[in-house]
């Protein structure tokens, strides 16, 4: 009785102490391994209008993810996340067909982001674009 209650006390206090120490060590470790803010999470992106010809697409990084801006008709610009809504591959622009193709499972999207065919469940995520002088302001 005497021995077993001492043992219980010892085990309990040692495991509490151990858990505390583990917690104190785990927090810095978790922070050290956590992804760090890359800075550009909020920012807008400036793209010279000349880089995006009529019927052409231009790919760029937007808040840490690939994105695409498209001049679908002269003077009409649209921007999308370039991440396929199916399983996350990066879409390609096929100028000859005037549509986006996802190379992974042949998902197809129109120039306005709508799904034309294949497995993607949702249209491409649109990003606002505005013209300011000779630049396109995305975001």
């Amino acid at each position: 009785m005497e021995v077993s209650s001492r043992r219980k006390f010892l085990v309990l206090s040692l495991s509490t102490l151990g858990a505390l120490v583990a917690g104190v060590a785990a927090y810095p470790l978790f922070r050290y391994l956590s992804p760090q803010p890359t800075g550009g999470e909020k920012g807008r992106v400036n793209i010279p209008r000349a880089q995006v010809g009529a019927g052409q697409a231009h790919f760029f990084q937007f808040r840490g993810h690939p994105a695409v801006v498209l001049q679908s008709a002269p003077g009409v610009f649209a921007a999308f996340s370039a991440i396929c809504t199916h399983l996350g591959c990066i879409i390609r622009w096929l100028p000859e067909n005037g549509e986006f193709l996802c190379p992974c499972h042949a998902g197809r999207f129109a120039g306005d982001g709508k799904v034309l065919g294949g497995p993607p469940p949702k249209p491409l995520q649109a990003i606002p674009v505005a013209l300011s002088g000779d630049n396109l302001l995305v975001g």
């Binding site: 810095p28 922070r31 391994l33 956590s34």
Partner: protein, 366 residues
């Protein structure tokens, strides 16, 4: 019956784990007069575990490239959350490990535990010491600071004085005429893969020797006797001794806690202790900073080289000292282990330690 016990029964029925644990914990008996110095091996195991864990974490952000290395270390220190903690523990830890290694070696020396049948334990241990110093040396270059660059330049330069092959040896160590990207590449590979792999194998061998031969009985007390000479293998038993678990494990834990407290004490209250100003400037191959010194555990060698009339003589003296220590169990073969009965050895021991300390202090202030 709890789930834990069920799982333990499952494993035990297949692998006989309880038996192994019992043989190595509660039924593993140590000499009754065992002392605290025997905990240093466990302390070293713990410190090396910390070193490996922090080393792997540093690898996530470190970049072994002369253009990037210094900046990547700066980033770890200033930007990555708790990067300063990981890096300082790793850097200070290396110093605490050398301290623990020296104490382990000195205690084993004083108690004569290197003697037959523990010669191989000693040789493996001494090689571990040399490997650890090798890891310290190669790791020192990685931050690519002025300190790293010039300490490595000087250290590699000392092999210049080797007869005949001196120049070739320096070029080979550096991978070029001067310390540069090739040096960083090979030091990095050695520091993170080459040495640790060798080190791990040697530690296993060292522990195997310790366990197989049995822990030595400390050579103190009236009833101590040298074990009878034997040409066949004999495991040293300690009938009536104290169990390893829980008795000695508690002592191990206490001394381990002491060393961890020492490590964290330096990390939190004197983080600059082992970082002279040259550690905070990026390497510049065209500017040697004034007063560059090696780390404290290499100061004895540094001072020897300065004192002796020729560098070759200095290297030769160091080589002889290291070889003598490595082969000590084969040179000092009497079975007597009691310090009180070994006046010659104890005098040489005290003189040797005094010489090491004196040379180091002199080197530090010269």
């Amino acid at each position: 019956m709890g789930l834990g016990k069920k799982m333990a029964d499952f494993i035990d029925a297949r692998l006989g784990i309880r038996d192994i644990l019992e043989q190595n914990l509660t039924k593993y008996l140590l000499p009754r007069n065992i002392n605290a110095w025997y905990t240093l091996g466990a302390v070293l195991l713990t410190l090396f575990t910390v070193q490996i864990a922090t080393g792997i974490l540093l690898l996530i952000y470190y970049n072994p490239n002369t253009d990037e290395a210094f900046r990547s270390v700066q980033r770890i220190m200033n930007e990555v959350p708790f990067g300063w903690l990981i890096r300082t523990i790793h850097a200070v830890g290396s110093n605490i490990i050398v301290l623990a290694l020296l104490l382990h070696m000195l205690s084993v020396l004083f108690m004569g535990s290197y003697k037959r049948p523990r010669e191989l334990t000693w040789v493996a241990g001494f090689l571990l010491l040399l490997l650890s110093l090798g890891m310290c040396l190669t790791g020192y270059l990685l931050p690519w600071s002025q300190l790293s660059f010039w300490a490595t330049t000087v250290a590699t330069n000392s092999s210049q004085e080797l007869p005949m092959i001196g120049d070739a040896a320096v070029r080979f160590l550096r991978g070029g005429a001067m310390v540069g990207q090739p040096t960083l590449g090979r030091f990095f590979a050695l520091h993170v893969m080459g040495f640790p792999l060798l080190f791990g194998m040697l530690v296993l061998f060292h522990l195997f020797c310790v366990r197989r031969v049995g822990i030595s009985r400390p050579p103190f007390g009236h009833d101590w006797q040298a074990p009878p000479p034997s040409t066949t293998f004999r495991h040293e038993e300690h009938p009536g001794g104290i169990p390893f678990f829980p008795h000695y494990v508690a002592k191990d834990a206490a001394i381990i806690a002491f060393f961890l407290a020492l490590l964290l004490g330096v990390v939190f209250f004197a983080p600059g202790l082992f970082f002279p100003p040259a550690a905070f400037e990026p390497a510049d191959p065209f500017v040697t900073p004034p007063g560059i010194k090696p780390e404290w555990y290499f100061l004895w060698a540094y001072q020897t080289l300065k004192l002796l009339p020729s560098e070759f003589l200095g290297l030769a003296v160091q080589g002889v000292a290291v070889t003598l220590l490595l082969l000590l169990p084969f040179l000092d073969r009497s079975p007597e282990r009691r310090p009180s009965r070994r006046p010659l050895f104890v005098s040489a021991y005290v003189l040797g330690v005094a010489l090491f300390v004196a040379l180091s202090v002199w080197g530090h202030y010269s």
